[in-house]
């Protein structure tokens, strides 16, 4: 199990990130990327237990007695989803401030970029990043807290 995890986790993480980035054009996106990322973390948790996830990966001494509320990794997750939410709202407002309307998205296509020839930069990616962060933060919070119960 631990071996599987050791091999699978990096793969899943890479997959998750690529799914996230390709989401606008191929199946994937912030939500799927986020859930997959969470799955990677969870695999670590299943293989090594919460202690490893929190003490090993995140370098943190675990003390279940103090209450999950002040738990540092939970705090980190919490910050992640708050950050995600902020980005989503911020990107929505940005659309407004840039003369469009609330939640307006736009994209530019950069030509003549080496290797890729053309790269599309969509503001939707920012929005999707917010989605990704909320999902990762939110789900990890749920899992670690439910797991710690």
């Amino acid at each position: 199990m631990k071996t599987t995890a050791r091999i699978a986790v990096p793969i899943i993480l890479v997959l998750a990130v690529s799914l996230f980035f390709q989401g606008h054009n191929l199946p994937g996106g912030g939500f799927i990327g986020g859930v997959l990322t969470t799955t990677a973390f969870v695999l670590v948790y299943v293989a090594y237990g919460l202690d490893y996830l929190e003490a090993g990966v995140l370098d943190r001494e675990v003390d279940p007695g103090t209450g999950i509320f002040e738990h540092r990794s939970v705090t980190a997750y919490r910050r992640t989803f708050v950050l995600g939410l902020t980005i989503v709202v911020g990107s929505g407002l940005a659309g407004l401030l840039l003369g469009g309307s609330f939640l307006a998205q736009d994209y530019v296509i950069l030509h003549d970029v080496p290797i890729y020839h053309e790269v599309e930069l969509a503001s939707a990616l920012v929005f999707d990043l917010g989605v990704y962060l909320v999902v990762v933060g939110g789900l990890l919070t749920i899992l670690s807290v439910v797991g710690a119960e």
Binding site: L19, H24, I32, F69, F127, T141, I142
Partner: protein, 784 residues
């Protein structure tokens, strides 16, 4: 000449302003606040008196959108009532200043009493249905506070709540009745209107509009209930004697010139509008029954205030009956008796207050012969008491004669059973004489009192009843003066046409009504020696059943309601989830299926499975997995089955050309499985007894819900070959140009319908926060 709006509104507003300023006034005047309030009442009285003879309607806008205005009519009837209320108000406030000496909560007392008086003035003068209702309800509210003055006394609270329930409950009927009138006005006057003055001016059109719409009798009944509640008519009479727990000045005010007269007043007010055969049948009967029952109960009373309270109900019955008769004399009886009753009942209550204050008792049984110690009080009581009994030449006699006349005329005209009306009126009057004598007996006969010495009452307590007794004497001596001054105006306002009205004494010749009076007086005096036996007989009947005993049915109804109420909660909200789910799902299934049936929505022709075979196969597996879930032997097995269902559905999404969904479903399903397992490992297994009957019932409901979902899907799911919706086409074509992405679903999610996604993220956030809250608050516990 027309009345002055500013004068009228000032007269009404002044008591309210005084009520609001009571804390301030009290700070300056302390216990002498009563005098300040009396001064305010006097100003109102004075202002209103200036309007004598200046009859008409004035208005100021309030809610123009629905045609409601602060509209006031000044006429004889309104002024009679308003002047009585403010005039007696002056005396009651004066009396209060002495009587309430050393009492508690005086600020609230005076504020409520002032507001009470203001509301009465409002009811008297208002000529807009909404405004009438406003003041009508304010009188109920003020009386609630006044009756509940001794808030720590359970009996006070009981009586206050009773008065509130009866009068405000009656108010509901009034509101309904007034709305019926406004609906009729829409037809009769051509516009939506709450203008009572205009309605009265167009009474013919109003009546025919009411009859056209079949609303005449409903209007009549609703208003009768309201008036009966307010004016303590049988069977809503019981709150009045209970209301005597209020401080005596309040009782005097409540009974003579204010609260209880409001119903009668309004009956008089609407008499020109609604009178007719139904009116007479309703109000004459109601009034005479109340007159009799009230008199009987008064005879059986053992308490001074109780006796007077029932007597009030009885006299209110007299007025209602008077207005009930269509004859001129009927209206005269109602209007004139309103004045006379106020003049004699207020001093009697004040006398009862003096007795309670000085002799320390309200019991009729342990007081007698007090005339030596309280000669002035006794004199006042005799004057007022004889007037109450209807003994000539006191003023009570005149108005009662008018009632006899009206009743006799009615009997004479209608014949047959209608002769009961004069007969009942006479019988009731016998008992009126009897209880009047019983009351006066406290001053006569052998000296008996709970206290050895009965001190002389302070002047402030004696002057107000004395003034009123003087009023009785004046009206008795020169009744025509009162008639000319105001009663004629009142009679005009409460009758159709312009009846001329004069009072003659001594009567020029013997008439049937005079004979009826004679019978009443002789009967009453003759029965006096056996009062106790009569009283006991009445008591026996009264207490024979809950339904007859005053407030018996009220107590029963209230306690039954409270008992039912105590049961309803636990009965309906058992806490059993299945009950809730059953109700909800059964209702929704029934409604949805009924909806399809109602519109004869047709299922399109079914052609095979309707899906490609591969899809059908996946679906079949999903269905099997679904059915396996309930049969799972353990939690873990069930969760795994559930996951299989989820994964199969992911495959379904693939074959349904939805890769994004499939991916999402896969990972989400994995996570859900994980959370399930995490939670389940800490939950015990649980096996409920499987009751065949319960399972059978559940299966039936499940099938019904399943059919509902099945039919819904079948009815509305589009033909696979059908064109995609405009929305779908747009998204596919515009995904690249507008959203810059080739994954249409993702573009829809982050761009076209980004707002949904935003909400969805908030949901995830809340879910995350929720587990944090659940965990944290457990360690913290309920500290609410």
């Amino acid at each position: 000449m027309s009345p002055e709006l500013s004068v009228v509104t000032t007269a009404i507003a002044l008591p309210f302003v005084g009520a609001a300023a009571t804390p301030l006034i009290y700070r300056w005047f302390g216990e002498r606040t009563g005098y300040a309030a009396a001064a305010l009442a006097l100003v109102s009285f004075g202002l209103l008196a200036t309007q004598l003879g200046e009859y008409g309607t004035v208005a100021a806008p309030w809610i123009p959108s629905i045609g409601v205005a602060l509209r006031f009519t000044v006429d004889g009837w309104a002024l009679l009532f308003a002047l009585l209320a403010s005039g007696i108000g002056v005396l009651v406030f004066t009396y209060s200043a002495a009587y309430m000496h050393g009492g508690h909560n005086l600020q609230r007392y005076y504020a409520a009493l002032l507001a009470f008086m203001g509301s009465i003035l409002g009811v008297a003068l208002a000529a807009d249905l909404v405004v009438v209702f406003l003041f009508w309800e304010l009188t109920s509210l003020a009386s609630f506070v006044l009756i509940g003055h001794h808030t720590t006394d359970g009996e006070s609270r009981y009586a206050a709540r009773m008065a509130m329930l009866v009068t405000v409950g009656g108010g509901l009927c009034l509101l309904a009745g007034l709305l019926v009138l406004s609906i009729a006005a829409r037809q009769a006057l051509g516009t939506a209107s709450f203008d009572l003055a205009t309605m009265l001016a167009n009474d013919e059109a109003m009546r025919s509009a009411l009859r056209d719409q079949g609303l005449f009798v409903p209007a009549l009944v609703l208003i009768a209930i309201a008036a009966a509640a307010k004016s303590a008519q049988v069977p809503l009479h019981f709150w009045l004697p209970n209301a005597m727990v209020a401080p005596t000045p309040v009782s005097a005010f409540l009974h003579s010139a204010t609260m209880v007269k409001v119903g009668v007043y309004f009956v008089g007010r609407l008499r020109p509008l609604l009178s007719g055969p139904e009116w007479t049948l309703l109000f004459a009967t109601l009034g005479l029954v109340t007159m009799t029952v009230g008199a009987l109960l008064a005879v059986a009373s053992t308490d001074t205030k109780e006796l007077l309270a029932y007597s009030t109900a009885s006299h209110l019955g007299l007025m209602v009956a008077g207005f009930g008769f269509g004859a001129v004399a009927g209206g005269e009886a109602g209007a004139f008796h309103l004045l006379n009753h106020a003049l004699f009942k207020a001093p009697l209550f004040l006398v009862a207050g003096i007795l309670a204050h000085e002799a320390g008792s309200r019991s009729l049984d342990n007081m007698s012969g007090l005339r030596r110690e309280l000669p002035v009080t006794a004199a006042i009581a005799v004057v007022a008491g004889l007037s109450m009994a209807g003994i000539p030449p006191f003023n009570g006699f005149y108005s009662k004669e008018l009632l006899f006349e009206a009743a006799y005329e009615f009997g004479h005209e209608a014949g047959g059973l209608a002769w009961l009306y004069p007969a009942v009126a006479t019988v009731a009057s016998i008992f009126t004489v009897l209880y009047s004598l019983k009351f006066l007996a406290v001053f006569f006969g052998e000296r008996r009192a709970p206290q050895k010495t009965v001190p002389r009452p302070p002047t402030a307590l004696v002057v107000p009843p004395a003034v009123l007794a003087l009023g009785v004497l004046v009206v008795s001596a020169v009744p025509q003066f009162a008639v000319d001054l105001i009663v004629q105006g009142a009679v005009d306002a409460t009758a159709r046409g312009q009846p001329e009205f004069s009072v003659h004494f001594p009567p020029e010749h013997v008439t049937p009504p005079l004979l009826m009076s004679g019978v009443a007086i002789v009967g009453g005096v003759a029965a006096y020696p056996v009062t106790d036996r009569v009283a006991r007989a009445i008591e026996t009947v009264r207490d024979s059943t809950v339904l007859i005993r005053p407030s018996g049915w009220y107590d029963r109804a209230l306690s039954e309601t409270e008992r039912a109420g105590a049961h309803v909660g636990p009965l309906v909200h058992t806490g059993v989830l299945r009950t809730y789910v059953v109700w909800g799902l059964a209702t929704v299934s029934a409604l949805v299926l009924a909806g399809y049936v109602a519109t004869s929505a047709s299922v399109p022709a079914v052609d095979g499975l309707g899906v490609p075979l591969i899809v059908a196969l996946v679906l079949l597996i999903a269905l099997l997995a679904g059915f396996a879930v309930p049969t799972a032997p353990s939690h873990v097995a069930g969760v795994l089955t559930l996951s299989i269902l989820g994964f199969v559905l992911a495959i379904f999404y693939i074959v349904a050309s939805a890769p994004d969904l499939a991916l999402t479903q896969l990972v989400v399903e994995t996570l859900v499985l994980l959370i399930f397992l995490l939670v389940l490992q800490r939950l015990p297994e649980f096996y409920a007894d499987l009751d065949r009957f319960v399972v059978g019932r559940d299966v039936v409901l499940s099938l019904v819900v399943g059919v509902m979902a099945f039919v819904s899907t079948l009815l509305v799911s589009p033909d696979p070959a059908a064109d995609p919706t405009e929305l779908a086409r747009y998204y596919v074509t515009e995904a690249v140009p507008e959203g810059g992405g080739t994954n249409v679903v993702n573009v829809v999610l982050v761009d076209f319908r980004g707002f949904d996604t935003m909400g969805e993220l908030v949901v995830i956030t809340i879910a995350a926060v929720s587990v944090l809250v659940l965990v944290t608050m457990r360690t913290r516990g309920e500290t609410q």
